[in-house]
């Protein structure tokens, strides 16, 4: 991924979070807790599990459609970060040679099952995490964290970081562009120039932080960043949380997919 695209991506995810849908209006705390619950449920499945994981796609699909998040955007991001999980997982089919009987005439090695299980879990966890920001906004997640007891110093850190990512990225974009214009082929793209550029960027950053601090002082900064927006947990939030929890519980502990399959098999035979 090149630089401009990465920059565009982070801005686009930010834009998505300003939509006003049912999912966006849910309390950030509830969304955060429900997301974590979902993730824990998904990764708690055994390593050969595939079929029982499939119903869990319902949750990201619902968030995506109700929250009006473009599917391709999420899929692209999931694909971009998949190499590590694939790299580790691809050894399973080679090393786990136990044979698994699927149905008459088709027997595959257990390693493929665990490999696909990793891929499904990967897709589920990554897309759900992305959807959390896309429907909550990063500041929303930060304030939820503060209300859930994360140290306020760390929350301020996150808010500052988020604010200045955009500023510094634009500055870096100008620097990179200037370097690219002056470097032909691979000249000027080595470590030496890189170190100098980053050194300059570092000093500029420190100087910027000083200016930011003075600007904040003159506006009454006293070491904390309060929010004007107050969050209240409404009945809708509770209904959402309870129904997701029930959904997770049912599909975690009962083989619903298989029962459905047996039922359909019974109808048609």
């Amino acid at each position: 991924m090149n630089f401009d695209e990465k920059y565009y991506n982070i801005g686009f995810l930010d834009q998505l979070s300003y939509k006003d849908t049912f999912v966006h209006r849910l309390d950030p705390r509830i969304k955060l807790i429900v997301t974590l619950l979902f993730l824990f449920t998904v990764i708690s499945f055994s390593k050969y599990e595939i079929v029982a994981l499939l119903p869990f796609f319902l949750y990201p699909v619902l968030l995506m459609t109700i929250g009006e998040i473009p599917l391709m955007f999420i899929l692209k991001k999931v694909a971009l970060v998949s190499p590590f999980a694939i790299f580790i997982g691809i050894f399973n089919p080679l090393l786990d040679s136990g044979q698994v009987f699927i149905f008459k005439g088709l027997t595959i090695s257990a390693g493929w099952l665990s490999f696909f299980s990793i891929l499904i879990k990967f897709t589920l966890t990554v897309s759900t995490a992305l959807l959390l920001v896309a429907t909550t906004s990063f500041p929303g997640v930060c304030h939820a964290l503060r209300q859930l007891g994360v140290p306020s110093l760390f929350v301020s850190q996150l808010l500052f970081l988020y604010r200045y990512i955009f500023v510094l990225m634009e500055e870096t974009m100008r620097i990179v562009r200037a370097r690219n214009m002056r470097s032909f082929e691979q000249h000027g793209k080595g470590i030496k120039v890189f170190v100098r550029i980053v050194g300059i960027l570092f000093i500029r950053t420190v100087e910027r932080a000083e200016r930011v601090y003075f600007a904040m002082l003159s506006r009454g900064f006293q070491g904390d960043m309060p929010t004007l927006k107050r969050f209240h947990i409404k009945a809708g939030d509770l209904v959402f949380a309870v129904s997701v929890a029930v959904f997770l519980y049912i599909f975690r502990f009962y083989p619903a997919t298989e029962i459905l399959g047996r039922f359909v098999q019974g109808v048609f035979s």
Binding site: F45, L95, S97, I118, A129, Q157, T172, V206, P255
Partner: protein, 344 residues
Amino acid sequence: MHMADALLSPAVGATMWAGSMATLGYSSKKLKENIDNKTIPLMGVMGAFIFAAMMINFTIPGTGSSGHIAGGILLTVMLGPYAAFLILASVLMVQALFFADGGLLALGCNIWNMGFYPCFLVYPLIYRPIAGDGTSAKRIYIAAIVSAIIALQLGAFSVVLETLSSGRSELPFGTFVLLMQPIHLAIGLVEGIITAGIISSVKKVRPEILESGNSLRPLDAGISLKNVLVAFLILAVITGGALSWLASTHPDGLEWSIKKVTGKTELAEQTNGVASLLKDIQEKTAFFPDYNFKPSDKEKRGKEKPPVWPGIEAGTSFAGILGGAIVLMFILFIGFGIRLFKKQ
């Protein structure tokens, strides 16, 4: 080398979260004791700097491939371990949420692997003794390179340990270590050279930045660090015991772990009230959708052989596939249905 959610088991994920959150709380407490408000914006902007610096690629000599920096040692040298740890944790969190590097549950692992080692182990034990008082450029170079290599090696080794104790990957320990460590040796070397270069160039232009960082540095890191380590060791022993119990072919072990892991959330409150009733139901319906294993000879010898389910007839897995297909169709149908409905 971001750890991914899909390779984690709940027990490992929760342990690493506990370790990272403890360090995080401890760092913010320590930082609050001797912070001036000026440092708060500096830390925030420094986090953004790490992002910006990651986006400048450079060519690694001899290979033609490009790399970027992680910045653990650099931040610790500039701002001290407590501030550096908070900054790294916030950077990793933004990466997890926006770039989907790693994941939310693996975030605990990633903060530990990439934050704890450089800030609290490598910096006080390796960088400081080698760099001395920071006046000799040569010593700074050696210190930065050695520290970056060791920090990355520790991080990579942790990825191996976390993946293996989660039991989702089949990679044997030796192979995995051989895959991870040499790659990170090269990355660490490059990172070390860059870190040293940046430190010395900043030292030339604005030496007072390095000196002001000194005031944020702890003098008694050794004593209080011990508490964190001891707490983490206890957690590790507990979960280690739990893991070995899980691995003992007990099929319901994972249920136990999710109950333990979600103990603080709403789900647990529900289960607590009617726990005995639910247990009964669970025991009655205690068959899981699973696959019929024909364990090969190799696996019979292996330690962690997959559970064999003699009581399930061959039709089980077919029913599973059929049900799975129907469920997927159903979910797609819902998704497109809502989208169509919204467009009107």
